[in-house]
Amino acid sequence: MAELTYRDAVARAIAQEMERDPDVVLLGEDVAKAGGVFKATVGLYEKFGPKRVRDTPISEQAFMGAAMGAAMTGLKPVVDLMFADFAAVCWDFFANEFPKSRYMTNGQVKVPLVIRLANGSARFGAQHCQSVENWCMMIPGLKVVVPSSPVDVVGLLAASIRDPDPVIFLEHKSLYAVKGEVPDGEIVDTLGTAKILRPGKDATILALALMVPRALAAAERLKAESGIDCEVIDVRSLLPLDTRTILESLSRTGHLFTVEENPRLCGWGAEVVSIVADEAFYDLDGPPVRITTPHIPLPPAELEDLLIPSVDRIVETVRRTLTA
């Protein structure tokens, strides 16, 4: 058992898989000698050398494509895209190439790769702090994984690298410095599994990434201040989505809250609420409520803090809804 930061957990997972499988390679801007802009790949270049850990030019299309071509023909590339917002400059690969090749070729082409994105708020402003998990969830054929803790980073990133499908792996920038206990030895988790982090009987709160610790803190306060006992579920994976765990929780609590960092419209919360409203309508004891960032671009620095769902906002929304 060691205490690791979320950022070190990234490097640990990649190292674990690179040691195991010589076809795993890592590429991206400043990912090698510099150890990544977020220092999440420090040491890998030294350990695995310039053949397996490669710096790229500012050519997101070229290296997304290169990863895909390599994946199609036998390698298992892990790509560092740096800020998640940069998905927009190579979106063609996310939307049109990675997820469609297997289908269009009736299974002939396989695209086993992992694209790592530094997602979410961190005070850099409108073009560097977007949460793009819903961009990815919209696209059939992708898998979308969003860890909230160092141990999940290790296990889910390892599972993503071993997965035979294209996986978008969204690391949260504001979690990189967060520490957590991680067991020694090989860790491989399972994609498509949500985790109940706090059992509760009055309401189900779903969250992802940075919103997970906030949902947990809110649940503690709701319990202490108002006696409201919330079940907090870390969704962890948007594709595949663990609807079973979600629907089962809801059937016990009767109330659903989603805590999303992506801007309000068409987020993963909307998807989950719609599934629940359709399939578990009669389990609902009240309106399912989404707590989201408003549908506006993000300002930088301190202003950002006011827009992202906070512990206060979660507490107030849940309390107001349940005591309405």
């Binding site: 070229a62 190439e97 989505l241």
Partner: protein, 334 residues
């Protein structure tokens, strides 16, 4: 532009193979057009009638295991690697005997077993993807080379630039082949390009040699391809080859090609690659009967393909739900 075909020394068997290949591409695509007129091709399609020398010349120079990446205009390149006419026409006709059982359509012909790694319908991406296939060869110490075909219009999209720079700095065994047929869809390439030769005049921007060839001469194409492959296999990195050619048909099935200046098509038909190559072989002393026999065998393949496709059922409905994910299905939830 090198025009010294007379000096090219190519074995007779190879020349016959290139004739067979060009003739086969021509026949297969003409048949595809007939089937379209019979309303048996429901999706779109893009023919490369007139551009056969490029597909035939490169494919003949390739070795087994070499990889091909093409665009939506990919019938010729797919067939040239040995994929059967039946499988290609079947795919165009959305039949169960199609190369992808109807799930990709004309624009996405793929036959991994033949090294045809896909046909890509959004301009640009596949130049980058080809880099990756070549990188894998380099990484694994394999000797195969990747060829990526694309059009003149494609040289103006950003992905072209990124891929070329990337291939050079990583010294990848990839050959980029620009088929300059003078048009991007309906717009003449010269109206939208800052240089006269959209690929060749940009080679220096990547530290590459300027290579501009007659794309209607299979011998020139073959020889140029051989050089590029040798260079790639020797670890000397990528090449960028611009082949001048012309498409005889419209851009796609929807296009009657009215934008052509009068006489342009006719002029280019004078250098029709199939006809001129036949004439050259005859002039070089090959017997007409040998060529006739090649043509007969090809026609028989195409006829049989048509019959088989017409007899093939549509794919079963369930096929639509397969192969989204590696588990064979499309489930995104439990």
């Amino acid at each position: 532009m090198s025009k010294k075909t007379a000096a090219i020394d190519i074995a007779e068997a190879t020349r016959l193979e290139m004739y067979r290949s060009q003739y086969r591409l021509r026949e297969a695509e003409q048949r595809a057009f007939d089937l379209f007129l019979q309303n048996l091709v429901k999706g779109t399609s893009h023919l490369s009638l007139g551009q056969e020398a490029i597909a035939a010349g490169f494919a003949t120079a390739m070795q087994p295991g070499d990889l091909t990446f093409c665009t939506y205009r990919g019938h010729a390149h797919t067939l040239a690697r040995g994929v059967s006419v039946e499988k290609v026409l079947g795919e165009l006709m959305s039949r169960d005997n199609g190369l992808m059982r109807g799930k990709g359509g004309s624009m996405h012909l793929t036959s991994v077993e033949h090294g045809v790694m896909g046909s890509y319908a959004i301009i640009g991406a596949h130049l980058c993807i080809a880099c990756g296939a070549a990188w894998r060869a380099q990484y694994q110490g394999k000797s195969d080379v990747t060829t990526c075909f694309f059009g003149d219009g494609t040289t103006n999209i950003g992905a072209f630039h990124e891929a070329l720079n990337f291939a050079v700095i990583w010294k990848l065994p990839v050959v980029f082949v620009c088929e300059n047929n003078l048009y991007m869809e309906y717009t003449p390439i010269k109206d939208v390009t800052a240089v006269a030769q959209p690929a060749a005049d940009r080679a220096s921007a990547y530290g590459l040699e300027r290579i501009l060839i007659d794309g209607n001469d299979a011998d020139v194409v073959y020889q140029t391809a051989q050089k590029a492959y040798a260079r790639a296999r020797a670890g000397e990195g990528p090449s960028l080859i611009e082949c001048l050619t012309y498409r005889h048909s419209g851009h796609s099935r929807a296009d009657p090609a009215k934008y052509r200046p009068k006489g342009e098509l006719e002029k280019w038909k004078e250098s029709d690659p199939v006809k001129t190559y036949r004439a050259r072989l005859l002039a070089q002393g090959i017997k007409a009967s040998v060529l006739d026999e090649i043509e007969r065998v090809v026609k028989a393949e195409v006829d049989a393909a048509e019959v088989a496709c017409k007899a093939s059922p549509l794919p079963p409905d369930e096929i639509m739900f397969t192969d989204v994910y590696a588990d064979g299905g499309c489930a995104w939830r439990n």
